[in-house]
Amino acid sequence: MISVQNLSHKYHGNSDYSVRRISFDIGKGEIFGFLGPSGAGKSTVQKILTGLLKKQEGSIWIEGTEIDSLNKDFFEKIGVSFELPNLYEKLTGYENLKYYAGLFSRKTFDPLQVLSWVGLENDAHKKTSDYSKGMKQRLVFARAVINDPELLFLDEPLSGLDPATALSVKRVITDFKERGKTIFLTTHNMFLADEICDSIAFLNEGQILAMDTPKKLKLKYGSYSVNVEYRKDKKILTELFFLGKDEDKKRLKEVIDGYEIITMHSREATLEEIFIKLAGRGLN
């Protein structure tokens, strides 16, 4: 579906590349997670893939067509959800969806139906200037799916959403996947990526550090760890020990022998821990 080879991009006026020689492939019907902290280059790649930024170096093929040759048929088949809300504030939620849907020649969903997917059916006829940030974010997501796209680009789709709404949006994403749609997900939410992505690429400082399925990444880079809660000088402390590391094993023995253990749990490494291990920094 999408093949990216040696993609590089430098913003005007910057001496450093924002994205450096990255390559990846996304199969049809797959959810591909692009993970990394702010400034890693995730949104730059999404903008290039959606035509908002002009490709500078490398090649991008979407359904067998080079991105420079894509015409308006490409835009008929894609849906894009932006990280920051960008709506017509004078229009209601319903009007924003209705008239945006009208820009497409293909069959689109009923705006009220899509609004109900994201829990906005009762606010359909309110002006979006009166929406909260979370409501605007949901409406941007709703707009991205209104044309039933074959290829969906989502930039931080759960950002700023409460758990119940986040669950609804997650359900819509997985429904799209079940219907054979391809999804390019940009996020720094490792739990979301772990839960719904078929494959993941870790991006840091414009470069891909690792790329595989979440399970394989954990097998390859992760190791089991033990989370210990113990009492030291009347204070309760928590420490994480990776069992694959000799120094951590030694330190764990010291803690068990020297202090009062309150709780001790073994667990699988998270994607965030793997990212920290590979990048030397956290995601936030």
Binding site: F75, V80, N86, L87, K90, G102, S105
Partner: protein, 343 residues
């Protein structure tokens, strides 16, 4: 057609909720009241009071003035004239003698008004003293239109043209800046609707706003006694052209604050032909290429109903200008506004 209609509806609703329609309706009604009730039909007459000191032997001027129906008040002395004039700022004083007339002016009367007063009393002096004035006065007018518009009617072309051009220019720019600020343009960019729909929808909403203004303003000032087909054609082409210019220039700026200097210069340039319109002796060739020039003169011709040559020529010129500016606006918007979206 569906993508164009949808984009048109977005722009139409945004314009409506920004009160653009209410603004132009209010301005049209205000202008109509100004034309009908505030601006006089002529300024070449004198309608103020005369304070007169009649020093003639038989007080012959006093009798004659009263019989002609002028608002004249007899004063007992020159000081009394001055005192009355200091209270009545539109009044003129006259000391009438057997051998001539002395006029006392406030100081701000135009030369035209001074000459009118002079001619009234010269004629009166000649009549009362049995002197023969020029027997025959014949005049030949070279201008094509034989009918001269009253001053308040003469304001209609000016108000119509400046509103269409100045407000139209600002409205279309405001629509673009609002879209830039809210980010709607980014979503539009990843939709299949292209540059053409983007430009056409904004231009047509602007044309609708101008047409609404024009119809209300003309109905309340000229009624049904004018050629609406010509007027609406002028408004359509004029507003379309100015929309293209507004889009072309506004796209390079990110906010109305940055754009305000451009808007001021543009509007000042568009107002220049008004000078020539009210004083045809100021015939500067460069004014004729400013779109408001031809709009004003064509509107004047339509109101006069004398001929339609200049109007047809203006419509053709506006069409040619649209044909020239449309590709420039299209390719520029495509390159600057649509393709080069920076988030």
């Amino acid at each position: 057609m569906k993508p164009f209609f949808s984009q048109f509806m977005i722009d139409f609703i945004v314009a409506k909720r920004n009160m653009f329609f209410i603004i132009v309706i209010s301005i049209a009604l205000l202008y109509s009241m100004i034309v009908n009730f505030v601006i006089p039909s002529k300024t070449e007459s004198y309608s103020g009071n005369f304070y007169i000191l009649d020093n003639t032997v038989n007080k012959k001027y006093t009798q004659a003035l009263n019989s002609f129906g002028y608002n004249s008040f007899i004063a007992s002395s020159l000081d009394a004239i001055k005192e009355n004039m200091s209270k009545d700022k539109s009044a003129v004083g006259l000391v009438l003698k057997d051998d001539g007339i002395e006029a006392v002016f406030q100081g701000y009367e135009s030369f035209q008004q001074q000459n009118i007063i002079k001619s009234i009393f010269s004629g009166l002096y000649d009549t009362l003293n049995n002197q023969n004035p020029v027997a025959v006065y014949k005049k030949t007018i070279l201008a094509e239109s034989s009918k001269k518009l009253p001053l308040n009617m003469k304001m209609i072309p000016v108000l119509l043209a400046t509103d269409i051009i100045m407000l139209g220019f600002m409205f279309v720019a405001a629509m673009i800046f609002q879209e830039k600020k809210e980010g709607g343009l980014y979503a539009y960019r990843v939709s299949p609707s292209g540059t053409l729909n983007y430009i056409l929808s904004k231009a047509l909403v602007n044309v609708m706003i101008s047409a609404l203004f024009g119809i209300i303003f003309l109905l309340f000032t000229l009624g049904f006694k004018t050629n609406y087909f010509y007027f609406l054609s002028l408004i359509f082409l004029g507003a379309f052209l100015v929309s293209l210019l507004g889009i072309l220039l506004a796209q390079f700026y990110s906010s109305l604050n940055e754009f305000i200097i451009v808007a001021l210069v543009f509007n000042a340039a568009m107002a220049l032909p008004v000078v020539s319109y009210f004083n045809p002796l100021i015939d500067i060739q460069i004014l004729k290429i400013i779109p408001s020039y031809s709009l004003i003169y064509a509107s004047d011709e339509i109101i006069n109903s004398a001929s339609n040559g200049y109007t047809l020529n203006t419509l053709l010129n506006l069409f040619i200008q649209i044909c020239l500016f449309f590709p420039a606006t299209y390719f520029s918007v495509r390159k600057v506004l649509i393709k080069k979206v920076i988030l």
